[in-house]
């Protein structure tokens, strides 16, 4: 088992390394930061001096090496636009994104699992089919369309929920939370919903498929043969076995939610990492762009690693020395 985890860890570090190179390459392609910072009305001396100051006159690999070395120490230079250390900015923005993603995940599971179960248990009935067809719509609606629709209905027409921002937050150490104030909770509803809708459909379809598989299994037939009540079989035996893959997938889903949060954050002006990233793209803020990409990659890698470990714990076959070597990877 230890060998397996070590191998996974190795993979993860390799992925991070590649991403760091790509992030750095990408950020040097998005434009001329000096022109973005100073605008058109600056003298050539100022440009040259700033380029030197920012180390942009160094060869690519020197710059990359510095970036990598600092990144290992969680130091990402200073944001060009905000003129503050990027690590400070990231730390400030992380709670908003994580809270949003977590609520969206809970929401998608809380709605998606019962929906999938209902559809599986009542397979063949017209409304179960209709439910699943409707979920395709949820799956294919882009987050920003859902977001704008929500804003139009609940902010402009009904005036119930705020159309932007995070409401009031409470600081607990460096973490800021919106869970403890009424306005914070209200502000969470629409962005979380917009983000969760496509995930609900995903979870529902996954649960339905798994459940149908399990219901066909031999032990369910035996249980039926023994005369155990249908409800007991469905909810006690079948459901439990259905949920194992769902839990693993939802871990990876959290990663997706953090990544997709970029769109929801832009629509709702949610002060999280995604918004920071978009603003950085607009202003060629290279330190922020590369740090965000690296952080997002690290997040995915970590989740994957955790999921792999969980899998090992859950599935005894993998524990026996890791000969199979498999396990879900993304």
């Amino acid at each position: 088992m230890a060998a397996l985890i070590a191998r996974r860890l190795g993979h993860g570090i390799l992925v991070l390394f590649v991403v760091s190179l790509l992030a750095f390459l990408l950020s040097s392609l998005v434009g001329d930061p000096v022109a973005s910072i100073l605008g058109l009305n600056a003298t050539p001396e100022d440009r040259a001096e700033l380029a030197q100051r920012l180390g942009l006159d160094q060869p690519f690999f020197t710059r990359y090496a510095t970036f990598l070395w600092n990144a290992i120490h969680f130091e990402f230079a200073t944001s060009y636009a905000a003129q503050r250390p990027v690590s400070d900015l990231l730390i400030e923005r992380i709670p908003a994104t994580l809270e949003l993603a977590a609520v969206a995940l809970v929401l998608s599971l809380a709605v998606g699992i019962p929906l999938g179960l209902l559809a599986a248990v009542n397979r063949g009935r017209w409304w179960a089919t209709a439910l699943m067809s409707a979920s395709v719509i949820g799956l294919s609606l882009p987050t920003f369309v859902v977001g704008i629709l929500l804003i139009f209905v609940f902010s402009v027409q009904l005036g119930w929920l705020p159309s932007f921002g995070r409401g009031e937050t409470v600081a607990i150490g460096w973490w800021t939370t919106g869970f403890l104030t009424a306005s914070g909770l209200k502000a969470l509803i629409m962005p979380a919903l917009a983000l969760a809708i496509s995930q609900v459909a995903l979870v529902a379809r996954l649960v339905r498929a798994e459940m149908l598989d399990v219901l066909r299994a031999d032990y369910i037939r035996f249980a039926k043969a023994r005369g155990i009540k249908k409800r007991a079989i469905e909810f006690s035996h079948a459901l439990r076995n259905t949920l194992i893959p769902v839990i693993t997938v939802s871990g990876i889903q959290l990663g997706f939610l953090v990544a997709f949060a970029v769109v929801a954050e832009a629509v709702f002006q949610w002060p999280g990492l995604g918004l920071l990233f978009l603003q950085a793209l607009g202003s060629t803020d290279i330190p922020v762009i590369s740090a965000f990409l690296l952080l997002a990659a690290a997040f995915f890698v970590t989740i994957n690693l955790v999921v792999d470990c969980l899998y090992v714990l859950v599935d005894p076959r993998l524990r026996a020395g890791g000969a199979l070597g498999g396990g879900p990877t993304l």
Partner: protein, 532 residues
């Protein structure tokens, strides 16, 4: 009777404290956040309009962008490249300390050292405190537009900067933490800074000790950056904000037709123009009609330039592409800029036949193919403007390929080249005086002497060059006016560029708000009135 009086009195009593308690609060939203509160660390116009609430400029501005007494009550030219500024008495900073001539000297020197302001203040060589209340500023030239430049010189307290380790402008790429002046401020302006969080909001409170007039009733004001346009408009319509300072063109009708809301417009201090290669022997990315390379530069021929000015219908662009939210310009100047000449501001008439015959005369009767470099962001509706221009030029046989470029790419093309023979760009003279339009953007480009450094299309005309040389050395107002007129007329006659329009600043507000607009995009919070 008595009962009625008692009732009225009781009612008055009941209302009075309620009105007092409801201190007027303004919540206004825009697309981008204020990047920093350090007034010398950014020249971004949104950011400037925000820190201008807290920091006063040395020379003030009226709502028509005319110069007015600010922290300097008066100024005069002493000769020998020296300007004297008289400093206002009895002004205090938000922390209670008095404004002194030393603070002025310190601020000028601090701003001059900032790389965002070298092109504006780089000519200043010396600042002397010449008396209790006077400061002398010495430059390398007489610099007749220095007072106008000083409308962008923001004054900071020296003792405060010393205390908070903010003597230097925060430098990019510096090691260590964040400079104090980025999220804290101490100015003399109409508003005090309560808090500044770039991601969420910037909060101001009324400065009770403001030296100037404060006709409005705003006690606290909050600026909220909301990047997504539909959300920003929704926030206005749902009453979460009182005002949106950059209403998208497509939402103007919607806001206007909703009861309780109104839209206000004011031409922005920038004009769009199409620049034409004035120097190269062979134009870049330009071909003959059959696609073979061209061996000449059609744009160098003044007849071709005039033909373009006749063929591009700026009125139609302002009307259709900009949906009426633009003011057509006829010369290289706009109202609100020093040196603007209203009677000269007439566009070339749109005349397709004239354009065709001019092209014929110049030997391009068959037309040619060229590439219009078009920045996609930064200005309003640029892509649509470029397409409209292409369609208009097609009518006279010039086939235009529109090359859309993201801003960083576009900027890189100009500053590292310039590598363009034909492009759309927005222009604001840096000092807000037309003199700068001549010296920086129209004078024959000479990298050695840094003349005409922002003349991206290499336009060149001897009369304009003469004007650009003489203006910075001429103090006399009448002589200056004559020079402005000579330069503007020569530039128009030789089509220094095809001038298009000034885009409008567009505000959406609730009916409860009365707020005057200003061309530099500042919401002058001290003038804002909010009804109950």
């Amino acid at each position: 009777m008595l009962k009625r009086i008692v009732c009225a009195a009781a009612l008055a009593l009941a209302i009075a404290p309620a009105m007092d308690a409801e201190a007027a609060e303004l919540r206004f939203a825009g697309t981008t956040p204020a990047l920093t509160m350090d007034p010398h660390a950014s020249n971004d116009f949104v950011t400037t309009a925000i820190y201008r609430q807290v920091y006063d400029s040395l020379v003030g501005l009226t709502l028509d962008m005319e110069l007015a007494p600010g922290l300097a009550t008066d100024w005069e030219y002493l000769g020998d490249n020296t300007w004297r500024f008289m400093i206002r008495d009895g002004v205090v900073f938000h922390d209670g300390s008095p404004l002194t001539a030393e603070d002025i000297k310190f601020s000028i020197e601090r701003a001059k050292g900032s790389r965002f302001y070298t092109s504006l203040f780089g000519g200043i060589t010396e600042v002397n405190v010449s008396g209790d209340n006077t400061v002398d500023v010495i430059s390398t030239t007489p610099d007749p537009v220095l007072p106008r430049k000083m409308a962008r010189m923001f004054i900071m307290s020296k003792p405060w900067a010393e205390e908070n380790d903010a003597l230097d402008v925060p430098d990019l790429g510096a090691e260590g933490g964040e400079a104090f002046s980025i999220r804290n401020a101490n100015g003399t302006g109409p508003m005090k800074l309560v808090s500044h969080d770039q991601a969420v909001q910037t909060v101001f409170a009324k400065n009770e000790n403001y030296w100037g007039e404060y006709p409005g009733n705003i006690e606290t004001a909050t600026y909220l950056p909301i990047g997504s346009s539909p959300t920003r408009v929704a926030a206005l319509l749902s009453g979460e904000v009182d005002m949106v300072i950059d209403l998208p063109l497509q939402d103007i009708n919607r806001v206007q037709s909703t009861s309780g809301f109104k839209v206000q417009q004011e031409p922005q201090l920038i004009w769009m123009q199409i620049e034409l290669d004035g120097s190269r022997d062979v134009a870049l990315d330009t071909f003959k009609k059959d696609g073979s390379p061209i061996e000449s530069n059609p744009f160098k021929d003044v007849r071709v330039r005039q033909a373009l000015a006749h063929a591009i219908d700026a009125d139609l662009i302002a009307d259709r592409v900009m949906r009426g939210s633009a003011r057509v310009v006829g010369i290289a100047a706009t109202p609100g800029l020093g040196g603007y000449q209203e009677d000269l501001d007439q566009r070339w008439p749109t005349d397709i036949e004239k354009a065709k015959s001019l092209l014929e005369e110049a030997g391009y009767g068959e037309g040619f193919i060229t590439t219009l470099n078009c920045p996609l962001e930064r200005y309003v509706n640029t892509e649509e403007i470029c397409r409209a221009v292409a369609a208009m030029l097609a009518r006279v046989g010039i086939e235009v390929r529109v090359n859309g470029m993201v801003w960083p790419d576009f900027a890189r093309m100009l500053v590292n080249g310039p590598e363009s023979s034909f492009h759309l760009i927005g222009l604001t003279p840096n000092s807000w005086d037309v003199q700068d339009a001549f010296t920086a953007t129209m004078m024959t480009r000479d990298p050695e002497t840094k003349q005409g450094f922002f003349n991206w299309a290499l336009y060149s005309n001897p009369t304009v060059d003469k004007v650009a040389k003489e203006l910075p050395a001429t103090i006399d107002e009448e002589a200056r006016t004559a020079l402005y007129r000579e330069g503007l007329e020569a530039a128009k006659e030789t089509v220094s560029a095809v001038y298009l329009h000034q885009p409008m600043l567009t505000w959406g507000l609730t009916d409860a708000i009365e707020a005057p607009m200003r061309g530099d995009a500042t919401v002058t919070l001290q003038n804002v009135q909010k009804a109950d």
